[in-house]
Symmetry: C2
Subunit: 316 residues, 2 copies
């Protein structure tokens, strides 16, 4: 009996799902980061091996029993990355029987069976889309420091920027600053400048400030609203660009827009996003928004099933 | 015969000036970073020892021959920093006979003998001011990632943000992008996204993009102009806040505004800054702009001479 393995390799967490060839009897295992740009080639190999071996052990099978792998890996951004990652896969015993993509592709297919776009805003952000002809488009997700616009990290950084401006006396008070003071356990918000300059940058911690900004935006805090509006603008303009380039035909074809990640799981953000996106593309007839409930790794199993079906058709 | 030592301790370079008690016969020596927040306490001690020993060796004197030290150190941002730095100074043999401040204070006194404000925009940015009563104010300079608004790094980051938006197809072309392509030796600007995600963040390299933005702003490039205008706005609003808090009296008192650092050494940036600042404070009668020509460490010698004079008056 054969098996399918899908891997969703992220910057902080990696999820693996293994199923039978019908996509049933799914089992899940997890490990840490498998982005080779963050942790290097050696550690990426170790973590990938570890998570695959965990799964094989649970089922009592060997790697030769896996008929097809879908490897959705973050950091897979260019032809050069494909070369590096192909080498990694070969070294850990995955040969030929795999599909390698960016992790965002898994999130798209976890949310929909039709062509469409996924907009992810969690710690980072990225937009990814596929049309009926199989054309793929990817926008954003290039770097926390310069890109990942509208992400949790981006929102957190905007908030911190304004806290410091307030500490320095040239930005008025905001409810957000009280929330941040409590969140960081600071006696006075003015201690924040010292806190931030003395502390090592922690992407996840900074991105986690986004939830305070979202909550205060719900309460009507002016600064928080303006940060969220700007984040939504960036996400919508990227999604619109993907939409434009995929040249979806006019007519009755349903176009899915999948919303994923912690930031877009908030009602206020997703509603603002939908309205801004509809505004920008100038149509709403066939656009169908989906809030991703599944784990992105489920999308990997869907991709594997489609690919295996094609392979079988070609063989017969 | 006694000596004075002034140290301007920066994040990349540290300058030391030693002079006799009249401030004459100046000698200069240099070393690398002495910001303990960047390189740790141990390495800071080593670098400070090294630069001081170099100077003592040149003059053939011992540390006991130094009558007064002025230590202007970056990373000296809070009471806790003063504690840490006092410990470092004690450990390298500097006891009691010193004045410890932030490095920006040296730049102010290098430029002027009167009360005033220094606005520094180099790799980082900071505003520092002193009034006639000796009241000190410091705005900005807290962190490359979240603050240092209007700095070279800030300008470089804004430029990179727009390059990536252009590569992703949702920002129009700009002359700036051609310049950046050449600067980074890229065949296609579209390779930039891969370049930036694959490369380690290099603050100095990113800040060095600022000079391309300034040049293209001079040529009238729209994007470059808008980045420079925003940088100037941030620098001016910080300088205005320092000015406001120092409560300079109305009347004939001359108020110096010293402009320092690579970004503000450009005519187009400094002229825009002057005009924006004058606009914001709503007066120009006694405001006197000075382009810093001296090394900031010279300001340390001036401070030392003033302090020694006071000490002598108190002793007699």
């Amino acid at each position: 009996m054969g098996y399918i393995v899908a891997v969703d390799g992220g910057g902080t967490k990696t999820s693996l799902c293994v199923s039978d060839l019908k996509g049933q009897n799914r089992k899940y295992v997890y490990t840490g980061c498998t982005n080779y740009k963050s942790i290097g080639i050696k550690k990426t190999k170790e973590n990938l091996k570890e998570v695959i071996n965990k799964a094989l052990k649970i089922l009592g099978i060997s790697i030769a029993d896996v008929e097809y792998f879908v490897m959705g890996l973050s950091g897979n951004d260019s032809e050069k990355d494909v070369q590096v990652l192909t080498g990694i896969l070969k070294d850990i015993g995955i040969n030929g029987n795999y599909y390698l993509c960016n992790d965002s592709e898994l999130a798209l297919f976890a949310g929909t069976d039709t062509p469409g776009i996924v907009v992810i805003s969690g710690t980072g952000s990225i937009v990814y889309g596929v049309n009926n002809d199989g054309k793929k488009v990817r926008i954003g997700g290039w770097d926390y420091d310069f890109n990942d616009l509208g992400s949790g990290y981006w929102i957190g950084r905007e908030a911190i920027k304004h806290v410091i401006m307030h500490c320095d006396g040239y930005f008025p008070n905001s409810n957000l600053f009280d929330r941040i003071k409590k969140y960081f356990n600071l006696e006075k918000i003015e201690n924040f400048t010292f806190y931030i300059t003395a502390s090592k940058k922690n992407f996840t911690k900074i991105a986690s400030i986004a939830k305070l900004v979202v909550e205060e935006a719900k309460n009507g805090d002016e600064l928080s609203c303006s940060i969220i509006d700007k984040a939504v603008y960036y996400l919508a303009v990227q999604a619109k660009e993907a939409y434009k380039r995929l040249k979806f035909p006019d007519g009755n074809q349903k176009i899915s827009v999948v919303l994923a990640g912690g930031v877009l799981s908030s009602d206020i953000v997703s509603e603002k996003f939908k309205s801004k996106f509809i505004d920008m593309v100038g149509r709403m007839d066939n656009i169908h928004f989906i809030h991703l409930q599944e784990q992105p790794v489920e999308g990997g199993i869907k991709i594997a099933l489609k690919h295996l079906q094609k392979i079988r058709i070609l063989k017969n």
